[in-house]
Structures are given as structure tokens and as C-alpha cells.
Amino acid sequence: MRRPAAVLAALCVLVALALVAVGLTQRSSLAFTLGVAPAVPAAEIAAGQTVCQTAIAVPERFDRVAVWLKPSGGGGPALEALVRDRTSGLPVIARGTLPAGYREGERAIPVDAVPAGRDVDVCLRNRGTGRVQLVGNADAASRPTTAYVEGNPTLTDITLVFERSPRSLLAQAGAIADRASLFKLSWIGGWALWVVAALVLLAVPALLVRALRGVQ
């Protein structure tokens, strides 16, 4: 069984290498989400109107905001995105524009970079002539935040996804371990996920090789 065990060991090494390769080539631009599943029309804005999703804690830097849009009629009206800092009197700290003419679906609006640690409102102002619906969910979807149209609560939340320049999954490994350790056993941290990864990639193959050797 020496040869089969060697083959299995080689296969396990290949698996680890393949995981590293995928981790290097697979990229993600997600910074964080508001955590609102896009299910229903959550707000509608006419020409000149503004919708704001308020009180959003920013755990990671972002420079794009993705929204789910349903324009009425043909192409959607131009939208201006404004990010306001709640901690210092709501000045606009980032802005960007979505040109008119988009179709229904997810659209990412580039904005100036917003650093982590801020508490912000994200507003979309209709700069065109047509109307557009923003997709989101009930107000309970994201408890700390809520959506307002022209200052009036909509009792809904808008689906917002915050993005940044794409990074490989491997480059995010530390962040992934930290995130995965939250809301689990109270005494573990990101280190525990590193231990688990080491056990899965080193100890499990060793044990499987041991098992294969043991059946000769």
C-alpha cells in the first residue's frame, strides 16, 4: 500500500495547490452589504427626488455602490449618488453618477473612496425626467438603518452592496477568517479558523494516508 498511499498524498497536495490557485485567481470586489435581500420595490423616486438609506456603519473602505433598479418606461434616468458623513453634520464625503439609459437590474455607481469606520447615509438623487424604483425589502431587513424618500420614511430598506477594487480571495484570507469567527463560540477569533484550515489541509490528508496504509 506504499504506492497507493503515495498517490493519495500526491492527490492531497494537488488539492491544496488547486485551492491556492483558485484563491489567487478568484477575485472579489465586495466590501460589505447592507444585508438586504432584493425582493420587492422598496422606494420610487421621480425627477428631482432623493432617496436616502440612513445610518450605515462602514466596516470596510468602499468606492462603488451597487443598487437594484427598475426604471419605468425605457432607459432609466441619471442618478447622482451622495455619501454623507453622519458623524460630522452630514457633509457629502463622496459622490458619483450613474448615466441615464440603464436597464432594469443591478447597477454599480462609482463614488469617491469612503474609508472604514464612518457612519454614513447613502442617497440617490434622480437627475433625469423619468421615474425609477429601487429594489429592497421590508424595514426589518436591516434593523439599524432605514430608507427615506424626501425625508419621509418608506418603512423599507434598499438593497445596497458596497464594493471596492477587486482583490484575490487569498489576499482576503485574514479578513475571511476574522469574519467567519464572529457570531460563533464566544472565545474564538480569526486564529481558530486558521487552525481549522491547517487541520483540514494538513491533518486530514495525513489521517487519510494513514487510513489507506492501515487497510493493507
Binding site: 492527490l11 435581500a37 489521517l207
Partner: protein
């Protein structure tokens, strides 16, 4: 399979020792199970919220869930689910669980302020309420032991108990293969590697659900049934087998599908007893009646549905044989032009592949996490190849194999699949809703393990070791990539 008959049993002391290969496989299984338990965000497995709510209702009050006037879940669970963004994340690839440390610290603060009463104000009609209580009673131990910790501590410890059930499934598959193929560790490893390393049994067992215990008890029952057939019915073997079959009925109504096969195996084993059949057989039958009857009586006293799925399916009206035939045809074969479409949600492909095979191999979270399509094609081809090879192996051994064993295993598998089809057919007629899921056939994982080992027998002895290395390596690859896929979906 005749080789097993001529095997000499090892000495009793050697028999009691766990074989090194099995111990290593169990250790690997435990690591993978704990990895799943830690990686999965709270309540991101099918109905995990309902199963957790059932246990919380049992331990903290008001008792068995199902009260129509009460909330589905206790306030503590609902607030924890909000904090981790469980409901919005469920089945929605766009959303993520909460991953801000600030939000986590805020939850920890809020959790400390929650009064005890908010742990006992659930108990409503959650989706798990009609399940029998055995799995939930077992989950109550880690729940209570971790009671001083937070909600998520309790959830993770409950998941880890599920990993123990997976270890039972793996060990029972090893033992089952030992009965079928004789004590030949190579075949035992080939069989047990499937529940140990295939990702779906690990994912399901490492989440809070009665299904993990169901897999374990079904596999133990299969082992004890085959053992009884191979070694002969004794009072002990009969009682043990029937008691386990009965216990499985305390876990999920699905287990009633185990009863016809169990009765057949028992009848065959009793028939083989040379004399005094009644004396040997009656205690086993009494054990089945006592354990299953115990649940039926308990359910009646507590005004619970003892076998809701069974009774609703049995009492359903409006059987149209042609329609049922059409449904079954479309499940396994391409729909013909004149047939009513029973599976509009599976426009391409076949439900048996899309729902059963793909779902039994790898579909995680609330089933929204999937591999690219080509992975499932490869898995389908491999599965079919193993199934055909196993059938050829059985055919070749037809003159020597124990037909009682074959009849027992076949009837168990057929009854489960037939029951699932009947249930889904009724649901399709009443609401059009799909019911079938790949994980529903996982109680048969022990039989699938036997098929893998049987397929290996077709390989020449010289190449068996290498083939087994390929099988184990392939399963490990699938498992590792499943973990990575799940990490990416939730945290990247």
C-alpha cells in the same frame, strides 16, 4: 460477495479494538465536521432556525413547540438572527451575514441585557414542530451545557454533537461493509469513506437538524439487519435491530420507511432459525412494537402528530394512476410532449439528476450554494459508473450472495424512494410545490457506501489500492472545495 463467508472472525480481543484505519478515518471526519460547524453562519442550513427553536422551546419553555398563539421563535433567537442577518442571507446570494466586529460587539452587549424570559417566549408553529422529539432531546444536552454562553455558543455546540452522529454513521458503514464483504478493511474503507468525506452528509450532520441522527440510526439499523441475516437471529440481535428501527421512528416520520424492510429482514432471519422460531423472534418484534408504540402513545397523550407525513400521504385522495405515472416518468426521463409539466422549476435536465444526485452531492446553505455545472456533470457520470459497476458486481456474485441481505437493502431503498415520490406527488397535486431534496435520500448513505465498495471489487486486486486512493483523494477534493465555496459565499 462470497469471499466474506469464508473469512475467519478475529479473536474477541482484536474484534473489540477499533482498527487503525477506521480510527484515522473517524479523526478526519471529526475535523471536517468541526470545520463545517465553525464555518457555517448561524441558521444557514435548511430549517436550522426551526430545529434550534424546537430545542430552545424544549429546554427553556414552554415545551414541545406548536402552540398556535405563540411566536415561532423566542425573542432571543429572533434578535440573534437579526444581529447575524440570518433571514436576509438565507438563500440570497446577494446578501451576506453580518461581518462587522462593531455589530458583533453591539450584539454581545445587547445579549447580556436580555432577560431570561426572552428565551422562553417562543414555541410557536415552526416548521419542525411535527417532528418526533428524540433528536431534539439529545440536542438539549449541549444546549443546556452551554446555557451560560450566548446563543451562538449553544448553536455551535449543538452542531458539534451532530458531528458525533456523523462519526456513528461512518463507523456503522464500516461495520456494515464488514458484514457484507467480510472483515476486509480495503472494502470497509471504500464504503466508509463515502459518508466520511462526501460533503453533503458532513454539512447536514454539522448543522442543527434531526437528519444527522437519522443517517446514523438508519446506518446502524442497516448494519444490525445485515448482521442478523448473516450471523443468524438471536434474541439479542433481533432486539437490538428492531429497537434501533423503532428509535429511528422517534427521530423523523421518514423512518417509517425503514419498517417494511426491517420486517422482511426479520422474517427471513426468523425463517432461517432451525427451531423455536417464536422464542427467538418474539422479543425482537416486541421491541419494535414497544419502541414505535411508545412514540405513538406518547404522541397521542401529548396531542402531537405521530406520523404526519405518513398519514397525510396515506389519506390523500384523488389518485390518478396515469398522472402518477406521468410524474414518475418526468422525474427520471425527459418529458413527452403530451404530458402535464410536473417540474417547471427544472426546465433543463432531469429532476433525478438536478434534485437528487446534485442535491445529495453538494448543495449548501439554504441550497443556494452550488458548484459550476460541469462539476455536477462529472459527479453524475461517476455516480452512474459506480452504480453500474456495483450492479455488475452483484450480478457476478448472484450465485453466492445472500439474497436475504440483497432483498433487505433493496426494500429499504425502494420504500424510502417510493415514500418520497408519493409525498411529492401529493404536494404537486395540492399546491404544485416541489418537495424532493437530495438530502432526503442520505439515510441510504450506508447502501451507497456498499455500492462504492462493490464497484471496487471489479477492479483487479493489483489496482484496487490505487483506485481506492483515487476515490478517497477525489472525495477529499470535493470536501475541501465545498468548504472553500461556502467560505467564499458567506465571507468574501
Amino acid at each position: 460477495m462470497s469471499e466474506s463467508i469464508t473469512q475467519t472472525d478475529p479473536s474477541p480481543s482484536r474484534r473489540r479494538r477499533v482498527p487503525g484505519a477506521l480510527a484515522a478515518l473517524l479523526a478526519a471526519t471529526a475535523i471536517l465536521g468541526v470545520a463545517w460547524a465553525l464555518i457555517l453562519p448561524g441558521w444557514q442550513a435548511p430549517d436550522e432556525n426551526s430545529h434550534y427553536g424546537y430545542v430552545q422551546s424544549l429546554v427553556d419553555g414552554p415545551g414541545l413547540p406548536g402552540e398556535p398563539d405563540r411566536p415561532l421563535f423566542a425573542t432571543e433567537q429572533s434578535r440573534a438572527a437579526d444581529a447575524v442577518n440570518a433571514d436576509q442571507t438565507a438563500a440570497s446570494l446577494v446578501t451576506r451575514p453580518e461581518w462587522s466586529r462593531t455589530a458583533f460587539e453591539r450584539w454581545r452587549e445587547a445579549e447580556r441585557e436580555l432577560p431570561d424570559a426572552q428565551r422562553s417566549d417562543g414555541g410557536g408553529q415552526n416548521a419542525a414542530r411535527s417532528n418526533p422529539p428524540l433528536a431534539y432531546l439529545l440536542y438539549a444536552a449541549p444546549y443546556a451545557a452551554a446555557g451560560g454562553g450566548g446563543v451562538f455558543d449553544r448553536l455551535v455546540w449543538m452542531r458539534i454533537v451532530g458531528v458525533v452522529w456523523l462519526l456513528v454513521t461512518v463507523a456503522a458503514t464500516w461495520a456494515l461493509a464488514g458484514e457484507v464483504f467480510g472483515r476486509r478493511p480495503l472494502f470497509q474503507l471504500a464504503a466508509a469513506a463515502l459518508p466520511a468525506l462526501a460533503p453533503m452528509p458532513t454539512f447536514i450532520s454539522a448543522s442543527v437538524t434531526p437528519d444527522g441522527l437519522l443517517f446514523a440510526l438508519w446506518t446502524v439499523a442497516l448494519w444490525l439487519g445485515v448482521r442478523m441475516l448473516r450471523r443468524g437471529l438471536t434474541v439479542r440481535s433481533g432486539v437490538a435491530f428492531m429497537a434501533v428501527v423503532g428509535l429511528a421512528c422517534w427521530v423523523k416520520a421518514t423512518s417509517y420507511a425503514l419498517v417494511p424492510g426491517a420486517l422482511l429482514a426479520f422474517a427471513i432471519a426468523a425463517w432461517r432459525v432451525p427451531g423455536g422460531r417464536a422464542r427467538v423472534a418474539l422479543p425482537g418484534l416486541a421491541a419494535l412494537v414497544a419502541v414505535v408504540g411508545g412514540w405513538l402513545v406518547t404522541a397521542r397523550i401529548l396531542a402531537r402528530p405521530a406520523s404526519q407525513q405518513l398519514t397525510s400521504a396515506a389519506t390523500a385522495s384523488g389518485l390518478d394512476v396515469r398522472e402518477l405515472g406521468s410524474y414518475l416518468w418526468q422525474f427520471y426521463l425527459p418529458k413527452l410532449w403530451f404530458m402535464q409539466d410536473f417540474f417547471p422549476s427544472v426546465p433543463m435536465g432531469l429532476p433525478v439528476v438536478d434534485v437528487i444526485l446534485n442535491g445529495a452531492w453538494a448543495r449548501f446553505g439554504w441550497l443556494e450554494i452550488e458548484f459550476p455545472g460541469w462539476v455536477y456533470w462529472a459527479l453524475t457520470v461517476l455516480t452512474l459508473a459506480v452504480a453500474v459497476a456495483a450492479a455488475v458486481a452483484v450480478w457476478r456474485a448472484r450465485t453466492t450472495l445472500d439474497r436475504g441481505v440483497l432483498a433487505f437493502l433493496a426494500l429499504v431503498a425502494l420504500t424510502l424512494v417510493a415514500g418520497l415520490h408519493w409525498q411529492e406527488y401529493q404536494l404537486k397535486l395540492s399546491s404544485g410545490a416541489p418537495f424532493m431534496q437530495g438530502r432526503y435520500v442520505l439515510p441510504l448513505i450506508g447502501i451507497a457506501g456498499l455500492a462504492s465498495a462493490a464497484a471496487l471489487r471489479l477492479v483487479s486486486a493489483r489496482l484496487r489500492g490505487l483506485t481506492l486512493a483515487g476515490m478517497v483523494g477525489g472525495l477529499f477534493a470535493l470536501q475541501a472545495f465545498s468548504l472553500a465555496l461556502t467560505l467564499e459565499r458567506f465571507y468574501a
